[in-house]
Each structure stands twice: as C-alpha cells, then as structure tokens.
C-alpha cells in the first residue's frame, strides 16, 4: 500500500476540485472541472498546438540552462577553490544575486531585442548565478584530509582538481542543476508571457486567459508544472545513480 502514499495528495486535490466545481461552489469561469481541463489538454495535443508550445518552451529553457551550466560550474569551482578569486568576486556576486532576473527584462530587451535571444539571456543570467553559488558551496566541502592524503601520494594541484575537487563538488553541482533547471523553466515561461512571441507555454497561458479559454489556460499551467516536475525527477534519478556515495 506504500505506493499509494505519493498519489494520495494529488488524488484528494482532484477530488476536492471536482466537488467544488460540480457543486457550483466556484464559478467555472474561474475554475473549470478537471475533465474539461483534461479535454483541453487532449484537444491541445491532438491539434498539435500544445505540443509546439511545449517544445518551444523546453527548447528555449534547455539552451539557456546549458549556457548557464557551462558558465556557472567553472566560475563556482574557481571561487570555491581559489581564495583570492572568492574574495575578489564575492560582493559583486552577492549584489547580482540580489537582483531578480525578471527585473532585468527591459535591459535584455534593449540589448537582445524581442527574439528568443533575450528570453534565453534571462535564463543564462539567473541560472548561471544559481549554478555558480551551488558549485561554490560544493567545492568548499572538499575534505582537507583527502587533499593532504593525495598530496603525500604525489598528486599535483591538477590531479587534486580533477580527481578530488570535481567529484567532491558533485553534490553541490547537482543541487545547482536541479534548482537551475526548475528556474530556467520558470524564467522562460514568464519571459514568454511578457516578451513578444507567439509560441511557448507562457504565451499560451496568457493568451488563453485573455480570450477566456480558461480550461486551455489550466491545461497549459498543468503541463508546465508536469514538465518541470519530470525534469527535476530525471535529474534526481541521475544524481542517485551517479553520486551513489553521498550520505553513505
């Protein structure tokens, strides 16, 4: 019966949702029934529109996420292992981290224009900071005793970096990957809502709301949540397999 535990809360939510909508407790304009949302989901996929919106959102967020990873991991490792780099960059880093990425929409619009570049740039900005911070904390966790043991065995700083620092930083890197993947999705959907585009889940959510296609709006929101959830779950599975030693 343990398999029931994770599905219990979603099942109860759908039940409660059905009760309040069927009983007329909530106006269906604000909250349609679960089956009308499921119908909109089905219709969206059969017409192909929802699929192309989902694909566009995933594609944009993955490009931004990839660039963020490529920038954030090396920066975090350098900050975590070279004290001078950490000292030099810490305060600027904290400052930029305090600026919400969404507050920079106008700046990125000015620089990159209305196309995909500006949306991706927002993801790169927000997620590379997250990646760098998590990698930084991971790199700080490297055990001194392990570094000394490697040194006495003849390890050079390059050996230490590749054989010790990178594996020991992996738990931090993976938590950065999970947070950044979710954040990349959030930022892209928000960007699609406000920065000119006619394809993407964010655009679809706002557009459905404007023309009162409320079931379609909820279907798109549900799909955005599901895609983020599945992305996070996939990374967790990879993490558990690759980082088998963590917590042991």
């Amino acid at each position: 019966m343990r398999w029931l535990t994770p599905v219990l809360v979603p099942a109860l939510t759908i039940l409660l949702w059905s009760i309040v909508t069927v009983s007329g407790f909530v106006n269906p304009i604000f909250l349609p029934t679960p089956w009308s949302v499921a119908g909109a989901l089905f219709e969206g996929f059969s017409s192909g529109g929802l699929f192309s919106d989902l694909a566009a959102t995933i594609w944009r967020s993955l490009i931004g996420f990839t660039f963020a990873v490529l920038i954030g991991i090396p920066v975090g490792l350098l900050m975590g292992r070279i004290e001078r780099v950490a000292e030099m960059t810490q305060s600027s880093f904290d400052f930029f981290r305090s600026i919400p990425a969404t507050a920079l929409f106008p700046v990125f619009l000015l620089i990159f224009g209305l196309g995909d570049e500006s949306k991706i740039a927002i993801v790169v900005y927000g997620c590379s900071l997250l990646m760098a911070v998590n990698t930084f904390y991971g790199a700080r966790q490297v055990k001194r005793s392990r570094v000394l043991a490697a040194k006495v065995m003849g390890a050079t700083p390059v050996h230490t970096f590749f054989y010790l620092v990178i594996p020991e930083s992996m738990p931090g890197i993976f938590s950065g990957l999970r947070i950044s993947l979710s954040m990349s999705f959030v930022l892209i959907i928000v960007a699609e809502m406000f920065i000119g585009t006619n394809v993407g889940l964010g655009y679809r959510i706002v557009n459905s709301q404007m023309v009162y296609r409320v079931p379609d709006m909820y279907a798109s929101i549900f799909l955005a949540g599901l895609a983020g959830y599945l992305g996070n779950k996939s990374l967790l599975l990879i993490e558990r397999r690759l980082l088998h030693w963590v917590g042991r």
Binding site: M153, G154, H159, H244, W245
Partner: protein, 249 residues
C-alpha cells in the same frame, strides 16, 4: 637512514610543540612513537610528510635520497582519506594513476596488494560498504602500492575495536616480513606500540622530544601469543615507566 636532529617547531610565536627532537631510523626499521596527547607526535609526522615546515636550525636528512622521498601515509581518519566514489581496486590504484602508469602496470601492482591484504573478494565493492578494519586495510594497501621509502602510520587503529586492530597488526607484520619498509608509527596504545615496533621512542609532554629510545627484544616473527610473554611485558613496563617520567602529573 632517516636522521632527524634538533627538530623544533613552534606554532605562532610562543607555542613550541617540538623542541630539539633527535631521532634516527634505519632503512627497513619499524619505529613506534609513544607519548602523551599534544606532545607533537602528529606534528613530527606532518614534518616528515612535508605538510609542515620545521623551524630553522632543524635538520631532517634522508641518507639515500635527499629529495623526492616517497612517503606512504596512513591517516587516523581513514574513511576521510579514501575516495568514496571509487571502488576498492581504484582506491588502491589511485597513486599509480596519478603517476601516469598504464592500465597493465596498474593491474600488475594492485592485484598482489589486494591478495596481500585479503581484499580480492572486495575489489569491486565501494569503500563505504566496508567495515572500519577493511577500510584501514585499503588505506594501508594504497600507501604501500607505490613502494614508499617511508611508511607513516598515524594512530591507524585508534578508531577500530581491539580485536579488529590485532588482526591488522598481524597483517602488518606479514607485510613487513615480506617487504621491509622503513616505518614510523604513532600510537596511543602501549600494547600496539610495543607489538608493532622494533624500537619504541617515548616522547615527553609538550614541547615534545624523545626521552627514551627502547629496543624491543622480540623477533620479526611476531604472533599475538607474544602479548603475554615475559619479554613483551618487560618491554611494555619500560615504555610505561619512561612515559610516566616524561609526563608530569
């Protein structure tokens, strides 16, 4: 031969840890260091391993090689020095890998070590799956795989229970008989210090120096039955007497 003369180390300006310590260790000799807490035993090992610089005027000379002395170091906290993301075989192979040896050369050296420490059946296991004693054997095998000139054991059995530690003492003696490697072992346990050492150097309280160098009149063919022998007990008493002299209070 390792010759240490007038070795002093002061941390800060007024915290002398070692003062005028003299010690000679012959090639292939096994010397244990026994002394009170904080007497500088670990500092001595750290100086020999190159982690800490001694004060000026100190002299640490290695007769056969003046530089590039290969040191094998087995730490007290063995679990924190093994690489948990690697299996037993790869942990032992690590020092060879960083020396750039080929896969064949690594296999040729690692296989006999696994056999020597009876770890063949665990070679593919992750180190976190092993018991504390097995982990310590992996640490010793890793320290020996590159045939060091000096093996340093820093309270290697302090985290193991007595029966497990005694089993490893015997495995160490098997190793030393087959392959005499110059060894310096620090211990807090008088039985261990006497059983493992050919000489026991007793250190004074801080600032530490060697106050007595006691030869152990036991052959290299040691077995646990020696722990109750007259020679063992008298050597043990001599160590304890010297310890009491050097540790006021």
């Amino acid at each position: 031969m390792i010759e240490i003369s007038h070795l002093s180390k002061t941390f800060g300006t007024d915290r002398p840890v070692l003062q005028d310590l003299d010690l000679k260790i012959g090639i292939g000799e096994i010397v244990t260091i026994f002394g009170p807490n904080g007497c500088g035993k670990s500092t001595l090992l750290n100086i020999l391993a190159g982690f800490v610089e001694p004060d000026k005027g100190s002299s640490v000379r290695f007769s056969s090689k003046t530089d590039n002395l290969a040191v094998g170091y087995v730490f007290q906290n063995h679990a924190d020095t093994l690489l948990p993301w690697l299996n037993v075989r790869d942990n032992i192979a690590f020092p060879l890998r960083i020396r750039g040896l080929s896969s064949n050369e690594i296999s040729e050296k690692v296989g006999p070590r696994l056999e020597q420490f009876r770890l063949e059946n665990l070679s593919d296991s992750c180190v976190y799956e092993l018991s504390g004693g097995q982990q310590q054997l992996v640490a010793i095998a890793r320290a020996m795989v590159y045939e060091p000139d000096l093996l340093i054991l820093d309270e290697p059995f302090s985290q193991l229970d007595f029966s497990v530690a005694r089993g490893i003492w015997m495995q160490l003696w098997e190793m030393w008989r087959a392959e005499p490697v110059t060894t310096l072992c620090v211990s807090h346990n008088v039985d261990e210090a006497v059983f493992l050492g050919e000489r026991v150097c007793v250190m004074s309280a801080r600032p530490g120096r060697v106050i007595e160098d006691i030869g152990i009149p036991l052959s290299k063919d040691r077995s646990l039955s020696l722990l109750t022998s007259e020679d063992f007990l008298s050597a043990r008493n001599r160590v304890l007497e010297a310890f009491a002299l050097g540790t006021p209070g």
